[in-house]
């Protein structure tokens, strides 16, 4: 019996349904193909403002307070996220209220009422969010990495805009952005949860089928290039720990390097003995912790390492980490098979085997959350260009040590970096 289905409505809305009856909840995630990459000088900050506005400021039918009241009454959770490529609007609620969930999503996404007073009110809330960002060293440092990793490319625009651009944003600019991008043909819906596939398909068609079709004109996006030279930024905050964030370009969402890139990120900054800790722990103990992430956007990717350390070790840690990434990684022994001598082989960590098992574990874990699955699927519908299904774990299983060295050399050996240091303010 089929438990999944893809369909496209006449108005262009693409939908993916996945029946999953482990918990009596339905998870509905809409993604709109509009991110900070689509903003201009006049609309800088618009998509993030809309992320807030859609959730809290009301529609042609209901005020923001009425939306909030209805959400609570139906036991629903809702939230939204904005990125460079897209914005997602997620909702999770008891299965018996699935139809309310669908109608609510339709109303807030395609029937928004944008008024000057509500725009100004939400701008004030976002100005508070700007300040909060600066109080979180890793979040702030990570944002600086992304803004400097893609110079001259739309991905380099700040996702929240700037305080100045937000203040200058007009209701008309927000409305224009909304009318252009928040249309069915530029949006997708992923629904995962406790429902019968045929019944949910009928409900979705009944609810979303009458949203008018609107032509979408999208601006083509080029692949992002790495920064021409390494960018170093130092910021002083009221912190006691030191925070070092290193970013480098990585494979994009549709790049064949994605699998080796994912394995590489695991070996560098996860598990009991992350490889990036090797140069930072010996001969001197220069770091307390390291974690690496790999982010895949549609036309670029990024590896970002987050390191905590004693502020006095920052300079040495930066030098050792960059030296390792630039020079040693391309010849690293990732697997026990890389060692010729049997004694060496016996003592060596098998980072490759670890990473493959770690990714199998992560894939299994992903099955546990209906909302997480719906979010992933909605993003995939927007970002995927490859069409056909890929067996992720089979591709990961094929990855060799040699592949990791090649990907390491390609992204860390030849390219420049963005390095952000967050240090304590001088007393």
């Amino acid at each position: 019996m089929a438990v999944e289905k893809s369909l496209t409505l006449d108005n262009g809305l693409r939908i993916y349904l996945l029946e999953r009856r482990t918990t009596p909840l339905v998870n509905i995630v809409a993604a709109v193909n509009a991110g900070s990459k689509d903003e201009t000088e006049a609309t800088s900050g618009a998509i993030h403002l809309l992320e807030h506005y859609v959730l809290f400021r009301g529609t042609e039918e209901r005020s923001g307070n009425e939306v909030a009241r209805d959400i609570r009454r139906h036991g629903a959770y809702f939230n939204a996220h904005t990125g460079q490529d897209l914005a997602t609007f997620e909702m999770s609620l008891p299965a018996e209220h699935a139809e309310f969930g669908l109608r609510n999503q339709k109303d807030i996404l395609f029937n928004l009422k944008i008024t000057p007073a509500e725009v100004e009110a939400e701008k004030e809330v976002i100005l508070q969010e700007f300040r909060q960002l600066r109080d979180d060293p890793f979040r702030y440092g990570g944002a600086l990495v992304y803004q400097n990793l893609f110079p001259g490319h739309p991905y380099g625009k700040p996702i929240l805009g700037t305080e100045a651009s937000l203040k200058a944003l007009t209701r008309e600019a927000v409305e224009g952005f909304y009318r252009r991008y928040f249309v069915p043909g530029n949006s997708v819906l992923a629904i995962v949860g406790d429902f019968a596939l045929a019944e949910m398909e009928a409900k979705v068609k009944a609810v979303f089928g009458d949203v008018p079709k609107t032509d979408v004109v999208l601006t083509p996006l080029e692949k992002a290039l790495p920064p021409p030279k390494t960018v170093e930024i130092e910021e002083a905050l009221d912190v006691q720990e030191g925070y070092l964030i290193i970013g480098a370009l990585g494979p994009d969402y549709n790049d064949p390097d994605q699998f080796a890139g994912d394995v590489l990120a695991q070996t560098l900054g996860h598990g009991l003995y992350p490889l990036l800790l090797k140069p930072l722990r010996s001969p001197r103990n220069l770091a307390h912790s390291v974690i690496t992430t790999s982010i895949a956007l549609k036309k670029a990717g990024a590896f970002v390492a987050y390191i905590t350390l004693d502020p006095k070790d920052l300079k040495a840690a930066k030098r050792e980490a960059l030296n390792y990434l630039r020079r040693t990684l391309r010849s690293e022994n990732f697997s026990q098979e890389d060692f010729i001598q049997s004694e060496e082989r016996q003592d060596a960590f098998d980072h490759l085997e670890y990473a493959k098992n770690e990714l199998r574990f992560a894939v299994q874990q992903a099955w546990e959350s209906g909302l997480g699955l719906a979010n992933s699927l909605a993003q995939h519908l927007i970002l995927n260009d490859q069409g056909s299904k890929i067996n992720y774990l089979e591709e990961v299983a094929k990855t060799t040590s040699s592949d990791l060295r090649k990907v390491g050399a390609k992204y860390f050996g030849r390219n420049e970096y963005v390095v952000v240091s967050i240090v304590p303010k001088k007393k």
């Binding site: 923001g64 139906h74 036991g75 109080d135 994605q258 098992n357 099955w367 992933s376």
Partner: protein, 434 residues
């Protein structure tokens, strides 16, 4: 590659898996072995992952005065991998293991693919039952704790919430950081860590909570077999009672901690009595109605008053006490207005209570929240072990919905009137000096 892509590709490649995983999650099975070890298991076929939480009753509450951080240091020592061979072994199996200390218990968590679970557990129990506690290891762990304290102090919300605990529970283990202070950890000696281990790491003082796709009987047998080396105990290692400390009037004067942040953290806290199943449900319900998301009581401080981006409420159950906090973060120039608005909102909540309609919405929302937040095996194991650690038992997990449905308007408002008296509250502000 982002986790989103990884999940999406996994689903698209193997959607048929969800058909085989279409079984509802079963209630937890609780058994006490002859050794006194309590074993809680729950089968969940949604993934081929097993999660085990090892609960050692005691926690922060068991730290002796002047030795704050002892529970943390000893628990870290008890899971410290002794040799490179085991590190390799655990790494190859992608074993995740971590620990924390809560108010009433230390918790060690192990999670991995179920195919590796038994073998990994065998190696892990060897370490846990015969840990190497010496000066070199203790000093290394003290260094790690100092690092954790620094990270904690860099987070204004964590500092604010910790300050509330300091105020209410001063002089008891519930106060302060799980990492202790520089002075208290300096005083912790190897002998004390060994004594702590001997006293608390015994079968009668520990609870195992496992959530796995394995059959429950199989998991119960596996855990009984692997943990048979745990020393049995007849005398419970009961930590000294804490109680909510000097609960009383703090007046209107907030505790102010200077920190050069962009935003001020403003929080009000109210002491709650020791957790019981009904009190826990009531405190979560009041937390929900007061400050959990859109439509909650203090949400208007964000949307209508535009005073904050982050507003919320949090209930913390403990064995001997509890806390209910309401907080927000705002810019320094709005700080006074925001504090007054939060105080007004809390006073109005106390004086008028909640309406029948508001209560029903809160119950629906909390019921759905409970399902959603416990969907992941690791979250569910944490909830089950929390219920065990505060003494109300993992059985509440299965009866939570019924307990919630039985809550009446009268008892909700009585709870609010009993515990949210404005004069019982404590205010804390973290932010830049004026």
């Amino acid at each position: 590659m982002s986790p989103a892509r990884r999940s999406a590709l996994a689903v698209l490649a193997a959607a048929v898996f969800s058909a085989s995983a279409a079984a509802a999650v079963l209630p937890p099975l609780v058994r006490t072995l002859d050794s006194g070890l309590t074993v809680v298991t729950q089968k969940d076929a949604s993934s081929a992952v097993s999660v085990l939480e090892i609960l050692i009753k005691g926690g922060q509450r068991s730290d002796p005065p002047g030795r704050e951080g002892l529970a943390y240091a000893t628990t870290r020592l008890s899971m410290d991998i002794p040799d490179i061979g085991k590190v390799q072994d655990f790494m190859a199996k992608a074993l995740h293991y971590s620990m924390t200390v809560r108010s009433d218990a230390s918790v060690i968590r192990i999670e991995c693919l179920t195919e590796f679970f038994d073998e990994a557990l065998a190696s892990f129990v060897e370490i846990l039952t015969d840990p190497l506690i010496n000066n070199i290891r203790l000093d290394r762990i003290k260094e790690a704790m100092a690092h954790q304290r620094r990270i904690e102090s860099d987070d204004a919300v964590a500092v604010g919430r910790q300050a509330q605990r300091e105020r209410f529970f001063q002089g008891t283990g519930y106060a302060g950081s799980i990492y202790g202070t520089e002075a208290s950890t300096k005083e912790v000696k190897v002998r004390e860590a060994k004594d702590y281990y001997e006293r608390f790491f015994t079968a009668g003082n520990m609870v195992l909570v496992a959530v796995s796709n394995l059959e429950e009987a199989e998991m119960q047998d596996l855990l009984a077999r692997r943990f048979k080396k745990l020393r049995a105990t007849t005398a419970q290692a009961a930590p000294a009672d804490s109680g909510p400390g000097p609960v009383g009037s703090f007046g209107d004067a907030p505790k102010v901690i200077a920190k050069d942040t962009q935003q001020n953290f403003i929080g009000a806290a109210f002491p709650l009595p020791p957790a019981t199943p009904r009190r826990l449900v009531l405190s979560l319900l009041v937390e929900n109605i007061l400050g959990r998301g859109p439509g909650s009581r203090i949400w208007g401080l964000r949307t209508e008053r535009k005073l904050a981006y982050n507003v919320g409420a949090a209930a913390t159950p403990m064995k001997e006490a509890g806390l209910l906090e309401a907080f927000l973060e705002t810019s320094p120039e709005k700080s006074a207005e925001a504090q007054a608005a939060l105080a007004d909102g809390l006073r109005e909540f106390f004086e008028n209570g909640v309406s029948a309609e508001e209560l029903e919405a809160g119950k629906t929302e909390l019921g759905s929240y409970f399902l959603r937040t416990n969907e992941r095996k690791s979250s569910r194991a944490a909830t089950l072990s929390l219920f065990e650690s505060v003494g109300i038992g993992a059985g509440l997990f299965a009866s939570f919905t019924d307990e919630l449905a039985a809550v009446t308007l009268e008892e909700t408002n009585a709870f609010i009137r009993a515990y949210l008296k404005p004069e019982a509250g404590s205010w804390v502000i973290i932010g830049p000096k004026k």
